[in-house]
């Protein structure tokens, strides 16, 4: 059906003979196929082809499953977990504590320090008597939230500027190149360390009004996210620029330009859709770095601050008692490892599925 409709549309938009001939041939193929039996496959778009390849890749499927599981648990988990369990009489305060209280990530139960897993505390408690499972869910939420914000900024800035630099060249390109050189001189999270080190206490006082990433000692996450995005986007811009330069040489862009299409239309209709795969691959591979970045900043004590929770903060809390209770360090480490590995494996598989060069071999 698609193939039948396309030629009419193409003719109306003024594309000349060779293209229509091609479309007619494909129409013939599809119309013949029912008679050839089940062997012939309907024509599929490159996107469908890539998705099929991805579905066949068991590593990618497993990664997606783990990522979805983590997202669900961190979003829905806390509100369910809060209603599970019996009220409990605390011996330290002589008060009855409901699960709504002791199953939150910042409640400290003075007489339940460093416990192992139990029915009341599913994954045990830490050195301050806080529920490890609740803290872990909050930490995962923070990790994913930071990853989301950073990727959003990264994609918006990276794609816009990379595309403009690739398409127009000139001074935009020069500025981008210089700026990239400068930002690449700050390796890893060094820039974020500098940023949070200097502006951290200011953020604590002034940014705690922002919902979700503001209160509970999370105020510095704004700085961390912006800092990470600021260091990461030049790389995305570079990828996009490279791809744009390549696309610009191709005939369909030339044809569009010859047909009198204006730049805005070419950029939005012809360039942007073709950047899809490289942006998806780059941002998925980036997410691992972003999550590691946030965790390491919090590990150094420059990111999330108590009573808030972050995976990095949990690891750093745990290392203080690692000789006696290794579990408290091991648990957040293994969760972080799982998240990061899922995203890198997924990114790797996406590259295999979407990159036409690897598809050929």
């Amino acid at each position: 059906m698609d193939a039948r409709e396309q030629p009419a549309e193409e003719i109306s938009s003024g594309v000349i003979a060779p293209d229509t001939a091609l479309a007619v041939r494909s129409e013939m193929e599809t119309s013949i196929s029912p008679h050839e039996g089940p062997k012939a496959r309907p024509l599929s778009t490159p996107l469908q082809e890539s998705l099929r390849m991805l579905r066949r890749d068991s590593r990618a499927v497993a990664s997606i499953a783990i990522i979805l599981l983590f997202i669900c648990v961190s979003l829905v988990g806390p509100s369910i977990y809060r209603h599970i369990g019996m009220p409990y009489k605390s011996t330290a305060t002589n008060r009855i504590v409901a699960p709504e209280v002791y199953h939150t990530f910042d409640h400290q139960e003075q007489d339940r320090l460093d416990e192992g897993a139990s029915a009341q505390y599913w994954l045990g408690t830490d050195a301050l008597g806080r529920d490890l499972f609740a803290r872990l869910m909050q930490g995962m939420l923070i990790s994913l939230l930071v990853a989301f914000i950073v990727e959003l900024v990264d994609i918006v800035f990276g794609v816009t500027i990379g595309m403009l630099a690739g398409y127009y060249g000139g001074w935009i390109d020069q500025c981008l190149a210089r700026f990239t050189d400068i930002m690449f001189a700050f390796p890893g999270v060094l820039f974020v360390i500098l940023l949070t080190g200097i502006f951290g206490s200011w953020a604590d006082d002034h940014l705690d009004g922002i919902p979700i990433i503001g209160p509970n000692g999370n105020a510095r996450l704004v700085l961390v996210s912006l800092g990470l995005a600021f260091t990461i986007w030049p790389l995305m811009a570079r990828y996009v620029r490279g791809q744009t330069l390549q696309l610009k040489q191709q005939q369909f862009i030339e044809a569009a330009r010859a047909a009198g299409t204006n730049d805005l239309h070419i950029i939005l209709q012809h360039l942007l859709p073709n950047l899809f795969s490289i942006v998806i691959i780059a941002s998925t591979l980036n997410i691992s770095n972003v999550i590691i970045g946030e965790a390491s900043i919090s590990l150094l004590g420059l990111g999330v601050r108590p009573p808030g929770s972050s995976i990095g903060l949990m690891i750093s809390d745990g290392t203080a008692v690692v000789t006696v209770y290794p579990w408290e360090t091991f648990l957040p480490s293994i969760v972080l490892a799982l998240i990061v590995l899922s995203f890198s494996f997924l990114g790797d598989s996406l590259r295999d599925a979407f990159d036409p060069r690897t598809k050929v071999s």
Binding site: I198, L299, F345, D348
Partner: protein
């Protein structure tokens, strides 16, 4: 070649200017007044005014930046806020040999592990050895270095429990000395450092060697009837090293940044812990100094790798 060098030097100059400016301007816009913080409750306007003048904080920004650059050119990283009259270098200098030692041995280990594993993988392309190797590499490459450090630490602690030895898992020995007690402190962090980065070089070696092995001159060498050993090591491997040479310079900065977290977990008194401490003391000049030192190191690393690239691969110079 001369034109190439001049162009690179100009770029280097520009980048260093940008890097120092970013570092400087962040300290300049620091929200809290460091002198006021330092004086705490005993605030005295006259002393505050004089100290601001001594630190040059009453000057306009461009003059402060000029002074900052001028001092940097004379290898003067500034004066600490927290410890008055103490130069920043004086605070950092105890940590520098420790951090460089960690990075040096860790980096050597990364190369010593990574390159052979990459070669093995490339020579057995698409066999089970290659698949296993590459999956393991991807796993190790994706794991953050501090998670590896934590795992290593816990492993050593378990071994201590089982065997009854007291193998240390924190602190560092005397830098660049290798008695048995010093080695005990150093071996585990260096091993972790090696493990954290070797996967990168293994993957790179594999890709680059595979690409070279597909070239025509390798086929010619094989067709001549040369031994496979000669083909691989004399014809292919030497050319496969070219991208590695460039990456070594580029990865220098990441190495130093990666050592931050290993130092933190193993409680090693290197520049990382000094910097982190000074962050909590709001000693901005120390943070700025570390950042500038590392960034300038990265920039020079890039320059060296660019030059090396042009030396080993003459095709680059033409462009």
């Amino acid at each position: 070649m001369l034109r190439f060098l001049v162009k690179k030097m100009l770029g280097l100059f520009f980048v260093i200017l940008g890097v120092t400016f970013i570092t400087f301007i962040m300290g300049y816009f620091a929200p809290s007044d460091p002198i006021r913080d330092l004086m705490g409750d005993k605030f005295n306007y006259a002393i505050w005014f004089r100290m601001r003048h001594d630190y040059g904080l009453d000057l306009p920004w461009y003059q402060q930046y000029f002074n900052y650059l001028f001092n940097l050119l004379h290898f003067n990283l500034g004066t600490s806020y927290h410890f008055q009259n103490r130069a920043v270098w004086d605070i950092l200098k105890d940590g520098v040999p420790i951090s460089t030692e960690l990075v040096f041995w860790g980096f050597l280990l990364q190369l010593a592990l990574g390159i052979p594993l990459g070669i093995i993988s490339a020579l057995r392309y698409r066999s089970w050895v290659d698949t296993l190797n590459m999956t393991a590499m991807l796993t190790i490459y994706a794991l953050p270095s501090f998670v590896l450090s934590v795992f290593a630490q816990m492993l050593v602690l378990q071994l201590n429990k089982v065997t009854g030895i007291q193998w240390p898992v924190s602190q560092w020995g005397t830098p660049w000395q290798y008695d048995w007690t010093d080695l005990q402190y150093k071996i585990v962090p260096i091993l972790v450092f090696g493990a954290a980065g070797f996967a990168y070089f293994a993957r790179l070696t594999r890709t680059s060697l595979l690409e070279v092995l597909g070239q025509d001159y390798v086929r010619t060498a094989r067709a001549k009837g040369l031994f496979e050993r000669v083909v691989v090591y004399r014809h292919a491997f030497r050319n496969a090293l070219i991208p590695l040479v460039t990456v070594i310079g580029l990865s220098l900065g990441l190495l130093v940044a990666g050592s931050f977290f290993i130092e933190q977990i193993f409680n090693i008194p290197g520049i990382a812990s000094i910097t982190i401490n000074s962050i909590f003391q709001r000693d901005y000049p120390v943070i700025q100094a570390t950042t500038v030192l590392i960034a300038v190191g990265v920039v020079f690393g890039n320059l060296v790798s660019d030059i090396l690239y042009a030396v080993v691969d003459p095709r680059i110079r033409v462009e």
